[in-house]
């Protein structure tokens, strides 16, 4: 009954298991172990279901889990998560580059295909579009082997007035937000200047190209930039 028991040929892990690993990977990036309720919320699943799955993932050696104290990926779990994330991001990149998808519509498609695509297909897709280093939203693509070098980034919300930065990455989980950001010109690679910040976490005024826009603090926290 080890993880290798699964009969699926492709990733060896079921779709749901891969989804949990991705969620835990993401939650863990902030340093803390991934809490049951946080996983539940992210996956839109009831907390007791998460308790059960977490037990199984621990049994499979993909996470460690102290009761009532959250889950942490093991090396094996992290590798599996990153391989799934690689599949997801390569697919997103391919759909936009090769098949004309807009950047706000690739997420859902990738979310399903990532569980069905073989490593060979992913490699061929990556090759066909020139081995990109990021997905359309600027998220870095892990290597085939399941490693990832994250760039040093800060949120747009954390910049001080007058600072200039390069947009590195935006969160991809809301099509509406993505469409709005594209309208503003806030896309990876763009240069933004922080013109002014209202106090008490108020709106931030930014300059992109020739035009200025006011964005809420909430939204600004979803935009990752590198200082210039």
């Amino acid at each position: 009954m080890s993880a290798a028991r699964a009969i699926k040929i492709v990733p060896g892990l079921s779709g749901p298991v891969e989804d949990y690993l991705k969620a835990i990977y993401d939650l863990e990036r902030s340093g803390e172990p991934a809490e049951t309720n946080a996983i539940a919320k992210r996956l839109s699943i009831a907390p007791p279901s998460v308790s059960g799955m977490v037990r199984r993932l621990a049994r499979y050696g993909l996470i460690t889990h102290e009761k009532y104290h959250g889950a942490r990926l093991t090396a094996a779990g992290r590798k599996a998560a990153l391989q799934t994330i690689r599949r997801h991001r390569v697919i997103e990149a391919y759909l936009t580059e090769a098949l004309g998808y807009s950047w706000d519509r690739v997420h859902d498609e990738a979310e399903r295909l990532e569980h069905a695509a073989s490593d060979e297909l992913i490699d061929r897709m990556a090759k066909a579009i020139g081995e990109p280093e990021t997905d359309p939203h600027g998220a870095p693509i892990p290597t085939r082997e399941g490693t990832l070098k994250e760039k040093a980034v800060v949120t747009l919300a954390s910049l001080s007035a007058g600072a200039t930065a390069r947009v590195e990455r935006v969160s991809d989980d809301s099509p509406e937000r993505l469409r709005y950001l594209k309208e503003l010109g806030v896309v990876p690679g763009a240069t933004v200047k922080l013109v002014e910040r209202a106090p008490f976490d108020g709106p931030i005024t930014i300059k992109v190209g020739a035009s200025k826009h006011a964005v809420g603090a909430e939204l600004a926290a979803q935009i990752l930039v590198a200082r210039r």
Copy 2:
């Protein structure tokens, strides 16, 4: 608890259900209703499992089923089967045309992707490679709406000596066979001449281009041709 109950967004039907419908569609093409054991064999599943699923498919209105007398697709079932088959064949064509897959390796990949790909993706793939009418093995691609015009074909085994024909389609379920056929030049579009047939269902000698080959009756039955 109707078929519409399923929460899956993409095809509305689970992967296994789609596989059963495809199998039944295929078995039914020979006129007879699809027998339980035949479905079981095709899907490598135990007969009792098929009995159970067949009951469910009938409940969903996708097939009709008389106990002990096999299953027949309803109009809805046929449409669903053909839409899955369309996905499968478009994917096969796309993988060979756009991503450099060889024709003997597309089947397995398509078998998994067909359950995860949205109709939009399939349409974009089809468009990207010029709306092909057949997959790499010569099988016709159903329309978006789930209709299909089958060509009038006979098996190579049924030709009489001296006849010339065009290869229309070969079965795609064995990579080894596909590699061998490619070696012989027996690919859709090729012209073959039946030189000689040994009696008692013995080997058949065919001429493809400049070279002659002897093929067994078994293999010849897997090659569909149109008389010239």
